[in-house]
């Protein structure tokens, strides 16, 4: 077998250092951390080292990844207990000699090793009705000001790494909430449509139905977002305000009560 870990063209850098990686191995029936003593080189990220383990010590190590560039949101994991993208966690951010643990996201059921069952997210996505545009201008074009599209554009930076979903304690600590609560990613999607300058649908009832009230704005989602989207401040809080205005404002409620009596 060729020694793929020391191939020269891949690494014009100085010689390798060694690191102890504790990688969770197992499946739905259980598992535990396994120690891999492995090389790493200057400028590498955690995913590079995981790939080296896979190529040289454990061909069957399950891990999701695609772009290795922080753009696809596939390689989410918990590194030393913190939700991170493996491709965006530089080895240089750890102390030399420090053990590094890599575990699957906790909120979703484990399939195998670092791969989790994230189908919950795809089910939630199905519940959100599509964009419902108002008519175009007479010349067949749409006109929107840049500043008006920027609010929703911020939310569309989402790469669906699902780390906000993973870290949100509403579902992380209370699995039974999953039927009532869509999680930050999808509440933000509702906000994105609500704030789209040309969307005509009323998105507030859906935000309520999908559990916006469960959110108690601890901002855990915002903290882990690799795209630095202000999920709580720019999406969830404004939606909560709109929901409160709609359903809990005393004057609106009075108005509704009067209408009902007619």
């Amino acid at each position: 077998m060729t020694d793929v870990s020391t191939d020269s063209p891949r690494s014009a850098a100085k010689g390798p250092d060694m690191v102890n990686m504790q990688v969770w191995r197992g499946d739905a029936s259980g598992g535990d951390f396994r120690l891999y003593e492995v090389e790493y080189r200057e400028g590498e990220v955690v995913l590079d080292v995981i790939h080296r383990i896979q190529a040289t010590q454990a061909n069957d190590l399950g891990v999701r990844w695609n772009c290795k560039a922080g753009k696809c949101g596939s390689c989410s994991a918990e590194i030393n207990g913190l939700p991170r993208l493996m491709c965006m966690t530089r080895m240089s951010t750890f102390e030399p000699g420090q053990d590094i643990t890599v575990a699957p996201m906790k909120t979703f059921p484990v399939m195998k090793d670092l791969v989790t069952d994230v189908s919950f997210n795809y089910e939630m996505a199905k519940r959100i009705p599509a964009f419902q545009p108002k008519p175009k201008d007479a010349d067949g074009k749409r006109r929107m000001a840049q500043r008006d599209v920027e609010r929703s554009q911020e939310f569309r930076k989402c790469i669906e790494c699902f780390m906000c979903q993973n870290v949100c304690h509403v579902i992380r600590d209370h699995d039974d909430n999953k039927v009532h609560f869509a999680g930050p990613r999808f509440l933000m999607r509702i906000a994105e449509l609500e704030m789209h300058p040309h969307d005509t649908a009323d998105r507030i009832p859906l935000a309520r139905e999908m559990g916006l009230s469960f959110c108690n704005i601890t901002k855990c989602c915002t903290e882990v977002c690799p795209e630095h989207i202000h999920i709580t401040d720019n999406a969830l809080i404004p939606m909560k305000e709109r929901m409160v205005d709609r359903y809990f404002d005393p004057i609106t409620r009075l108005g509704r009560a009067i209408r009902r009596k007619r």
Binding site: R10, A12, E44, A55, N59, N66, C72, M111, H196
Partner: protein, 600 residues
């Protein structure tokens, strides 16, 4: 076979990038029972990595722009080896496809008038790329994903098609396996649309993800459909070369479109030394004019940094070879000294953020090291330009897996528009074919049993070749012998080495069990990687000229003979692969006339 999971559809689409999703949306809209099958999770396909934009002559920024100018740019960028009809349809239909995305919720950046903004890119005469910052691909895939989901699309995620199954010379089905469980699943279908993307994982330095293993090209060839133009591989001029964590990752052309320039280690802006005759009339030959162009396109010619990708990649390669490259084998891309940090962060937000976090490189503070990276496959499955039908009944192909539109070199921005225009056309034609088919083709049980056994073979060996090692050796071979600059002796050596690797791949062994086992998945992908690598090397050896994404050190000029030829690859039922030289379709006179107008 008895307990095999089986599904029946009219059309299955393999691949869930821009082309696959657009094709599936169209096929389903035509009333065909449609499914999408993809190797990764939905929304993770390689399209997300596209940065610059979607080329479409909407004329929102330059009212002079129209489909004819776009057509001409595309053909000239492809060194006239493009299928003229595809280039025409693409230029004509791209604006409608962009506007359609907007109806499905895409939020493009806007002009002052509130229209979709369009940006400059290499090889395009006018600012033409509809974009969202530098994350246009993400916007496109999310828009199509959300559209498909809202239409109730059947999606089989993390499911890999192993082989196509035929019945009397036409498509009848596909055998796939679930990556999660390793269990097999049979799709009985009337039509298959290939939308599997490229082959970049055959090279060592690449901007492509693990999925780009040439699956569609290989499925087509082994089913009896033809490939063309496999020698044309685009090396994007600006991939990161340092540090290793980002090696090969793309630096969008927008960095140059927005003012970035290339310098060698002497600090010289060397692209002025590499302006080819064919582009001389429209390219600035001095820094002052080039710098004025960003503000005034009408009275100045374009900076040479915005020449088509093949020209820029070769120039960088030459500088490095001449000893004027950096210690890591690249040159410098400098936008930091030319634009304010605030401007760079606003225009190139993902670029700034990505390299800051991935590599601790601040592109607003200093020049950074870049070099060519394997990026795109111009060649692929031969298709009918109007319907994307392959040479095998029931099989269609769209996007990077298909060939023709880009000729010998693709212009930036033409790939996203390609996905939309020809994805839609493939969906239309496949649905029509499936609905017009009287009786459904039959899948023979014996064929399913044979393919299942073949796929499980690597588990039957206690010891054998490590699939990862074989992939690395293939990548080394292709990188060193079938790279940007090619020569007869090295291509012959590559063909021999790939042949040896094919033999060794028959003895590949995997450890563990079938549940989410990347070693097994790679062992099966090796067949495709080796098939396409051999095709590239053999076609490159035959084409004795230099054109676009194919440069021969021993044949540096273009040749009149080869300007009218597509290398066409066919595999017969005995498994014998032959390459023939077929004439390029002739362009009608009214389109030829477009090239006689003055360039400026």
């Amino acid at each position: 076979m008895a307990d095999l999971e089986t599904h029946d559809f009219d059309v299955i689409v393999i691949g869930a990038g821009g082309a696959g999703l657009r094709a599936a949306i169209e096929a389903q809209a035509q009333g065909a029972r449609t499914a999408v099958i993809c190797k990764s999770l939905l929304g993770k396909a390689h399209t997300v990595m596209a940065e610059g934009g979607i080329a479409a002559s909407m004329g929102n920024v330059w009212s002079e722009d129209n489909w004819k100018v776009h057509f001409r740019d595309t053909m000239r960028g492809g060194k006239m080896l493009n299928n003229w009809r595809m280039a025409q349809l693409h230029a004509q239909e791209a604006p409608d496809r962009v506007l359609e995305l907007e109806e499905w919720g895409a939020l493009f950046d806007r002009t002052k008038e509130g229209l979709i903004s369009q940006r400059d890119f290499g090889g395009h005469r006018y600012a033409r790329l509809a974009h969202v910052g530098d994350r246009t691909g993400l916007e496109m895939i999310r828009t199509l994903q959300q559209r498909a989901v809202s239409q109730g699309m059947a999606v089989f995620m993390e499911c890999k098609v192993h082989k196509l199954i035929l019945d009397e010379g036409r498509v009848a089905g596909a055998l796939a396996y679930w990556r999660e469980t390793g269990r097999f699943v049979l799709f009985r279908t009337k039509a298959v649309i290939l939308a599997t993307g490229g082959i970049g994982k055959a090279w060592q330095v690449t901007s492509n993800s693990w999925e780009y293993t040439g699956d569609g090209q290989s499925l087509a060839l082994s089913a009896g459909a033809d490939l063309i133009d496999m020698e044309f591989v685009q090396f994007h001029p600006t991939g990161m070369v340092w540090p290793p964590s980002v090696r090969g990752i793309l630096v969008t052309e927008s960095v140059r479109g927005d003012g970035g320039v290339l310098r060698n280690t002497d600090g010289k802006r060397f692209m002025f030394d590499y302006i080819p005759e064919v582009f001389a009339a429209e390219t600035a030959d001095n820094e002052a004019e080039a710098d004025r162009w960003y503000e005034d396109h009408t009275n100045n010619r374009r900076p040479p940094e915005l020449l088509p990708r093949d020209e820029v990649a070769r120039a960088i390669n030459s500088e490095v070879k001449a000893g004027r490259g950096t210690e890591h084998g690249g040159v410098y891309l400098d936008i930091a000294s030319r634009r304010s940090a605030e401007f760079i962060r606003r225009r190139l937000p993902s670029m700034y953020h990505q390299f800051k976090e991935l590599a601790d490189v601040d592109i607003t503070a200093a020049p950074f090291e870049i070099g060519p990276t394997c990026h795109y496959m111009m060649g692929g499955v031969k298709v009918d330009p109007d319907t994307e039908a392959c040479t095998l009944p029931g099989l269609y192909a769209a996007g990077e897996v298909a060939a023709g539109l880009h000729g010998s070199n693709r212009l930036g921005g033409n790939s996203l528009s390609d996905l939309l225009v020809f994805g839609r056309r493939a969906g239309l034609a496949a649905a029509e074919y499936a609905q017009g088919l009287g009786t459904a083709p039959q899948v023979a049980d014996s064929e399913v049993d044979r393919l299942t056994a073949e796929a499980l073979d690597p588990f039957n060996r206690a010891t054998g070749e490590n699939p990862y090692s074989l992939q690395y050796e293939l990548q080394d071979t292709m990188h060193n012998l079938v790279g940007i600059i090619r020569v007869k002796s090295e291509l012959e050596e590559a063909i021999e080495k790939v042949g040896q690797l094919k033999e060794r791949a028959k003895n590949v062994a995997v450890e563990g069990h079938r549940q989410f086992n990347p070693g097994w998945h790679l062992a099966l992908d090796l067949e495709s990687l080796l098939t396409v690598s051999e095709a590239v090397a053999r076609c490159a050896l035959l084409r004795e000229e230099s054109r676009g994404g194919h440069t021969r050190d021993d044949f540096p000029a273009t040749s009149g003979y080869w300007s009218k030829i597509n290398n066409t690859i066919h595999r017969d039922s005995a498994g014998e692969t032959t390459i023939t030289q077929e004439p390029l379709p002739e362009m009608p006179d009214e389109l030829k006339a477009l090239f006689e107008e003055p360039a400026k």
